[in-house]
Amino acid sequence: MLLIPCPFCGARDETEFAYGGEAGIERPADPEAATDEAWTDYLCFHDNPKGPHRELWFHRDGCRRWLEVERDTYTHELGAVRLSRP
């Protein structure tokens, strides 16, 4: 079970968080102008690497901040954790 260092609350158990998938996916600024392909790419085609991954975690039972966490999906080693801002 992960121990996630929340920049606001300190190191907390994974059970306090909700997972939010890959981080840094840019929402098309004008959805209406996006082609079907571009839109489905944004919606569905996310990276699923074995190794380092930037992902969103929501500190649900804490500060209720969406955090961007670097996690190695193979070793579960965590890198930088910061407030998620595009």
């Binding site: 079970m1 959805p31 209406e32 969406w66 070793t75 579960h76 965590l78």
Partner: protein, 983 residues
């Protein structure tokens, strides 16, 4: 006859001879002492056959001393107290204990299944796969039950386990796994340095190998040093000492589970049967010790063949003679120590056979360069055949009479925790040891578990590991001098050793022989993981603690490649079995989750309402009435509300307060329909979509001011909805100035519904003008209601004229009771979730049964609400071809033609009534008996449903052989024009 014929007159540091205990094994009464394990007391009583083996039902005795035991599987207790698959070596003796040997009927010594053993060649490796291949349909009827019976580990109890199990969570600087010399030294060093230490050990007493054989620390007895050290630790407030506690699992980021058999401790009444600890440790010292390896020879599974260190341990710790006359055989120096221990309690030593050429010791009948070729005796050991270990031709060997064969094939470090933490392993070819290499996570291994087998080395490594672990966690106070021992004999053994042919068992628990491993290799298996599954080697409850290394070496030999290339199977938690009940503790029944109650909950409870769970909330289903059953009561609540007035607690709805300069703009992005056009004092039904276009949640948005909104979400999705809003605000549109606050707990709300609600509310809120002009549909007003300051919304879920009154939660119960008092003469009826559900089905309103995460607004007939395009979440997806295609399932009503019919849960909608398998058109999502219309109604999602209006379809449940005709109609069954909304 003496009651404990194999108990020495004195000795045994773990037992208390002043307290004899009686116990039953397979229906026979025996006696042991306080402090005995079931295994030691059975040996003391002379019981040699303790269980039968898994495949061949061969008689088996005690092999080991602790969790590595592969043979002596027992069930303790009967009926609901029954605990199957325990190792007799790990069961503490208690007064009146009832235990049964496993895998045998009627008893282990007279077993009918044992006949299989005579035909042993019939069940080679991969037997199940070869024999039970085809045809597939025989699997359920024949093979599966047969395998279950043959495989027979202990039967699972059929009644719930009502023992008490508990969980605890703790943070530590240093967790030390294992309380032998290395572990105690590590704990002492770390604790003196100032670290918060948890020391966990599986035995009733700390000491590890010193429990089995004496040793010296400093110039005193080793166990005395252990006692002094643990007493010092015990006195420190920052140290937790856990006995009977196995470190079972090593998980990510240094979270470890420790299974503490707390209930076995004497003088701990009320303790849970097991306490499962979750320890988050900054650093871990793995001092897990090592397991003795067997030797492979014909008949090495016979009762009376035993791990040498275990035989010595029974003598030293319990004063028990594992036999009268022993042959001690092995490939390392530990056999001499064992032989002397056995002799000290009165076992006569027939021979000490050392496979190596040296090692002759004058005081013992040594056989240098000799090994056991074969065991004599069928039900138990009657002797052995010794031969030259180098297999010289013409050597016929010598028969030696004995009833105990104590064997040592060297030691395998217990690298389990190191490997669970994804540390790498390396094979030391010269020493024949698999050793911890690079650590995965913040841990270090020490002592025998890291390949140091001499007492001095264990103390030295443990101490150093404790100092280092404490330093890594920030504690560096001086810890004093490390303990030392004169014992510096590492007792190295040559690589694993075997003799001759015949039935040489590798895995005693699963009856895997050397020939099976060989056969698997000949049949083309190369991967150690495949061989494990093909032969079942290492798959028993002992997880191959004694067999793993032997299997690995045999396979490597058969494949003609080095051991290092073969590699090990994956080590997975738990290290030893942990009862499901301990893992489930706190996850079942009451107390699993926090319970949320609305402000009026006490009133519902006092009225005897049965509750239903809605997320964490509980809600009253209906209010029982004298002389009426459940269905009649619910019907009455519906009828009285539609005819007069009803009141329902809607305090569980999610409530969010939205403020800020960009609040209106933000809501236009969150909801599929426009909110910025709302006038202050008005509200609108809103539909929240997921970005993929599916309906996510719905509710009402009220505009309380220019930059101030109040919105409701469903009870079920309130957390997800709030999380969604926070995601959008924090990551997608952080530039918007919007503040969203979950105020669900702050407000209580009740809905007044029915044509009589206006008159009632007029009396309760005299200054409020409730005329249609002053207070139209979807308006919101601040008012004083029943003397309480409140917000009043005019909206309807029931389809009747209806008002929702919200007050601060602290006033909720007062509002509820005052409105009911006020409405007494109007016949105001409190109704629960059942009547509410019935009325919403009559009106065709959707809930999460319909908005099930797959449906679009158009599927639900709400397409108009989301028609205009825009940047709002989910809107763009609605234009994707898959969401617009013909043939999607759409919401319809089903009107059942037979007025007496009732619809059971889980029904499909099909085209014909012939009950032949066919793809359904859709499924029933909600159903009720409508007291208003006098027949059963259902909502359903049906392929192209709206175009089928008027068609007859069938509501079918093949499981219960049901098929009933229904007509597809509009989902709004009742008052489709909505005239009743005006009262």
């Amino acid at each position: 006859m003496r009651r404990q014929p194999f108990r020495a007159a004195e000795g045994g540091h773990l037992i208390d001879r002043s307290e004899p205990l009686r116990f039953d094994f397979d229906g026979h009464r025996h006696e042991g002492y306080r402090g005995d394990s079931l295994a030691s007391s059975l040996l003391a009583a002379g019981v040699r056959i303790v269980a039968r083996s898994f495949k061949y039902h061969r008689p088996r005795g005690v092999w080991g001393f602790g969790p590595e035991e592969p043979n002596a599987m027992v069930t303790t207790g009967v009926r609901e107290e029954a605990r199957p698959n325990l190792k007799a070596t790990e069961v503490p003796l208690s007064e009146g204990l009832e235990a049964f040997g496993q895998n045998a009927w009627p008893s282990v010594s007279w077993d009918l299944g044992g006949a299989v053993g005579l035909a042993g060649g019939l069940m080679p490796a991969g037997f199940y796969y070869k024999t039970f291949m085809a045809p597939a349909r025989w699997w359920y009827s024949l093979y599966e039950p047969l395998i279950r019976r043959m495989a027979g580990f202990g039967p699972a109890p059929r009644t719930p386990d009502d023992a008490f199990y508990a969980k605890r969570r703790i943070h530590a600087d240093v967790l030390v796994a294992g309380g032998g010399p290395a572990g105690v030294a590590a704990a002492l060093a770390a604790a003196r340095a100032g670290a918060r230490v948890v020391l966990a050990d599986e035995n009733t007493r700390f000491g590890g190998d010193l429990l089995r054989a004496p040793g010296e620390v400093g110039d005193s007895d080793g166990l005395a040093w252990i006692d002094t050290a643990t007493a010092e630790l015990e006195a420190m407030s920052h140290v937790h000492l856990l006995n009977r506690a196995t470190v079972a699992g090593y998980y990510d980021h240094n979270l470890l589970t420790v299974a503490e058999r707390a209930g076995e401790e004497e003088g701990a009444p009320g303790a849970p049967a097991m306490r499962l600890w979750f320890v988050r440790a900054r650093e871990v010292v793995i001092a897990a010790g090592a397991h003795e390896r067997p030797l492979l020879f014909d008949g090495n599974d016979r009762p009376g063949v035993m791990s040498a260190s275990a035989a010595g341990g029974y003598a030293h710790a319990y004063g028990v003679l594992a036999g009268r006359q022993a042959v001690v055989a092995g490939n390392n120096d530990s056999i001499y120590r064992v032989a002397r221990l056995l002799r000290s309690v009165g076992v006569s030593i027939a021979a000490v056979a050392d496979t190596r050429s040296g090692g002759d010791v004058r005081d013992l009948p040594c056989r240098a360069g000799e090994a056991v070729e074969r065991v004599l005796g069928s039900r138990r050991v009657r002797g052995v055949l010794l031969r030259r270990a180098d297999g010289r031709a013409g050597d016929k060997g010598e028969r030696i009479t004995c009833d105990l064969v104590a064997v040592s094939g060297g030691w395998s470090p217990a690298v389990h925790l190191h490997a669970q933490a994804r540390g790498s392993l390396r094979y030391d070819e010269e020493r024949g040891l698999i050793l911890p290499d690079r650590a995965g996570g913040a841990n270090r291994s020490a002592g025998a578990g890291a390949g140091r087998f001499d007492l001095d080395g264990c103390l030295e490594e443990g101490w150093a590991a404790g100092i280092a672990a404490a330093a890594s966690s920030g504690h560096e106070r001086a810890a004093g001098e490390p303990p030392r021992s004169p014992d510096r004999n590492a007792g190295e053994a040559p690589v694993f050793w075997q003799t001759g042919g015949g039935k040489r068992f590798v895995d005693l628990q699963y009856d895997v022989t050397a020939a099976d491993v060989d056969l698997a290799a000949r049949e083309g298996y190369r991967s150690v993981e495949h061989v494990k599954r093909y032969t079942a080697l290492g798959m028993g409850t002992d997880q191959g603690k004694t067999s793993g290394m032997a299997g690995l070496v045999l396979l490597s030999e058969a494949l003609g490649r080095p051991v290092a290339q073969t590699g090990t199977t994956t080590f997975r938690p738990p290290y030893t079995p942990v009862p499901m009940a301990a893992m489930a503790s706190g996850l079942l029944g009451e107390g699993r989750d926090a319970l949320r109650r609305t402000a009026a909950d006490d009133w519902h409870e006092a009225r005897g309402a049965p509750f239903t769970a809605a997320g964490l909330w509980r809600r009253p289903r209906y209010y029982p009435r004298e002389g009426m059953d459940e269905a009649e009561t619910i019907d009455a609540e519906v009828r009285e509300t539609r005819a007069g007035a009803g009141i329902v607690d809607v305090g569980t709805l999610g409530k969010v307060d939205i403020q800020g300069r960009d609040a209106a703009a933000f809501l236009d992005l969150v909801y599929a329909n426009r909110m910025s056009s709302l006038k202050t004092g008005r509200g609108r039904y809103g539909l929240m979509l997921r970005e993929d276009g599916r309906v996510f949640d719905d509710g009402v948005v009220m505009r309380l001011g220019e930059n101030h909104f109040y919105l409701t979400t469903t009870t079920a999705h309130q957390h997800e909805a709030m999380q969604h809003i926070e995601l959008l605000l924090q990551t997608v549109w952080p530039e918007l100035e919007v503040y969203a606050t979950d105020v669900t707990e702050h407000w209580f709300a009740a809905a007044l519904a029915g044509p009589g609600s206006r008159a009632l509310l007029e009396r309760a809120a005299p200054e409020l003008d409730l005329s249609d002009d002053a207070f139209p549909m979807m308006a919101v007003r601040a008012a004083t209601v029943a003397g309480l300051s409140a917000l009043v919304f005019r909206m309807s879920f029931s389809g009747e004229l209806s008002y929702e009154v919200a007050v601060p939660a602290d006033h909720g119960l007062a509002l509820w009771t005052r409105l009911l008092t006020e409405g007494r003469e109007d016949g105001l009826t409190p109704y629960g979730t059942e009547a509410m559900g019935t009325m919403r089905i009559e009106k065709g309103h959707v809930t999460h049964a319909e908005a099930d995460g797959r449906t679009t607004p158009d599927d639900l007939g709400l397409g108009r609400m989301a028609s205009a395009g825009g940047p709002a979440i989910g809107k763009r997806s609605l234009e994707l071809p898959a969401l617009r295609r013909n043939g999607r399932q759409q919401l319809v009503g089903l009107s059942v033609i037979d007025p007496e019919a009732r619809i059971p849960p889980g029904c499909q909608v099909v085209e014909s009534d012939d009950m032949r398998p066919a793809p359904p058109l859709g499924h029933v999502t909600s159903f009720c008996y409508s007291p208003t219309l006098g027949r059963a109604l259902a909502l359903a999602l049906v392929e192209n449903g709206r175009a089928r209006t008027g068609q007859t379809v069938y509501i079918a449940s093949p499981v219960i052989d049901l098929s009933m005709a229904a007509e597809i109609v509009s989902p709004v069954f009742y008052d489709p024009e909505g005239t009743r909304l005006n009262g």
